[in-house]
Amino acid sequence: MRYQEETSARRRPQFIGLLLTAILVVTSNTGAIADSIRAVENPLDALASTAAIVEGTIRENAYTFDPAAGPRTVATLADATADFGRLDDKTLPLATLGGPISEKQELFIPELPVLTDDTRYLVFLTNADWFFSPVVENYVFRLETDPQRGTDVLIAPSGRAVVGLSADGLEFSQEPVVDTQIDFISPHAKLRLRDGAAAQLATAMSKQDFLAAVRDLLKAAPLQGEFRSSPARDRVWNQITAEAAPLRDANPR
């Protein structure tokens, strides 16, 4: 039974009792552990945390709830293919923490990427034993076709088109090409392109050029580990374990 098939529909989910462990495909990799998760400050950091770079189409979003894994919004990536790394299945559930926690309330975590229905994406899948999102930081890009060139280009979660990629970082269009404001009445509705987007898409980096740049960066930061399609099982969604910061201070001039 597949993860997303067990869920009810969009806004009024019926909660299920099955454990994620019984319903998810789990890889046998032993390399990724939670403490391998690190800050992602640049594309090399991102690649070091990436098991595979894949693309496909989100067919639908559905909700699940598990006492440990918590509320999950499961975006089903269909017709998935790997640009880099290994992908064993053409359909991939991407289960992000967030969604209804009762019939009256919903959990939402703004830092985590939101994937919209009927939208093509290029996704960096983490090699970590993830819990919040299977996506590396915000390295998930909507794919759109630039009508002038007929080539695919990438749109970042910020709504801006990707215009460059190097070890120093991603570069984006000055103005967004899609509106990114989320309406909880239909949080997974595909976001419309803004007026004037075509002009910005025309200046965006093509997907082919982006992947070529990734290929170059992979020489310095090769992919490692494997992707796990299920969240880590050593965590409970509604508990934060507080840990003190070491006492130190900045030393500004």
């Binding site: 998760i37 800050a39 939402f108 703004p110 967004p176 989320i182 507080a242 900045a250």
Partner: protein, 343 residues
């Protein structure tokens, strides 16, 4: 207004590039209506991870104070009169916890805000916000002329923006999705609510009041949406004067009223010469619209200067023509040195 016409021996040689960033703030909606708090909310400090009197607490206090310092926005967030002392905090218990934790427990993020809202039908409101910030960040004051990706102070102000109901917005603001985040200048606190953030707060929680505040910054946002230093490295010139230099200069208007005032650029051998120094250029009558950040490229001839190495400063409203809600963010030390040689 009491503007004077002083040029300080320098000449504006060329025009300037202007980059004005209109608002881009983002918030969450339900059926088209903003999702907001129905009443002010309190954050419960976890003193195991944020002990009293420590830099993390100072960062938290700064973030709360800065958000509440936005005039025209209702004071929405405060510290609860009670604390938690244990290591286990709960999400979904109706209590707004704030703590630090290991980065790995945040999925590698610098901070996460766990927001709970009433299920969206016609409208919705926030009912809980738990904030967790990575404990490997640096929570002390951030140098005005630096670019840091590890600021706990910036992270707290960002996460409390989420707690108010703001989403990510890519501008010269604190709600950018990733660090480095821009700073204000001055010898004191450099992490503050920025114009786009303030505008969002006034939109979601309006009081109708206005605010006047200008600030200078040593950072700018590039056309490819990166936050970088305005100027860096060392510029070498001759002591006799007459050399031409070009500097990026950023001014933000954090308020609701367009302000016209006088800017000044100066140098000093002291890195704390936020006032005084030797003027190298002055510009009368520059205007900054409300809720904007403008970066210009200013080119001018230097006057004669003593031989030495100088820090470069840029100030806004240097003649105190504008009554501001905050005056200690007007002058900034840029990230560049001026090396004056004997020639």
């Amino acid at each position: 207004m009491n503007r004077k016409s002083i040029l300080a021996g320098a000449v504006l040689l060329s025009g300037f590039l202007m980059a004005s960033h209109a608002h881009a703030f983002s918030f969450f909606k339900c059926n088209g209506n903003p999702v907001v708090w129905g009443s002010p909310f309190q954050m419960v400090q976890n003193t195991l991870s944020i002990p009293f009197g420590t830099p993390p607490e100072s960062s938290l206090d700064n973030a709360i104070g800065r958000w509440n310092g936005v005039q025209g926005m209702a004071n929405m967030v405060s510290k609860a009169p009670f604390i938690t002392i244990g290591s286990d905090l709960s999400i979904g218990d109706g209590q707004n916890d704030v703590a630090t934790t290991g980065r790995a427990k945040l999925g590698g993020n610098s901070g996460l805000t766990f927001l709970i809202h009433n299920l969206c039908v016609l409208s919705s409101s926030w009912v809980e916000a738990d904030v967790a910030v990575a404990n490997d960040l640096t929570f002390g004051r951030v140098a005005e002329d630096s670019l840091t990706t590890t600021s706990g102070r910036s992270t707290f102000i960002h996460e409390l923006g989420h707690a108010h109901g703001l989403g990510h917005a890519q501008g010269f603001n604190n709600m950018r999705a990733s660090q480095p985040l821009p700073l204000v200048g001055g010898p004191n606190e450099t992490v503050d609510v920025l114009p786009d953030d303030a505008r969002a707060g006034r939109f979601l929680y309006p009081t109708g009041n206005g605010e006047v505040n200008l600030f200078a910054s040593a950072q700018r946002r590039t056309s490819k949406d990166k936050i970088v230093l305005n100027n860096s490295g060392t510029i070498t010139v001759c002591s006799k004067g007459g050399d031409t230099i070009t500097l990026f200069s950023t001014v933000g208007n954090n308020g609701t009223i367009t302000a016209t005032q006088t800017e000044r650029w100066w140098v000093s051998t002291s890195n704390q010469a936020h006032n005084g120094g030797t003027t190298i250029f002055q510009w009368n009558g520059s205007t900054f619209p409300a809720n904007t950040v403008i970066t210009r490229q200013v080119t001018f001839k230097l006057p004669a200067l003593p031989v030495g190495t100088f820090f470069v400063f840029h100030g806004v409203d240097v003649l105190h023509e504008v009554q501001e809600s905050r005056e200690d963010d007007n002058n900034v030390r840029e990230g560049v040195l001026l090396q004056v040689n004997n020639c």
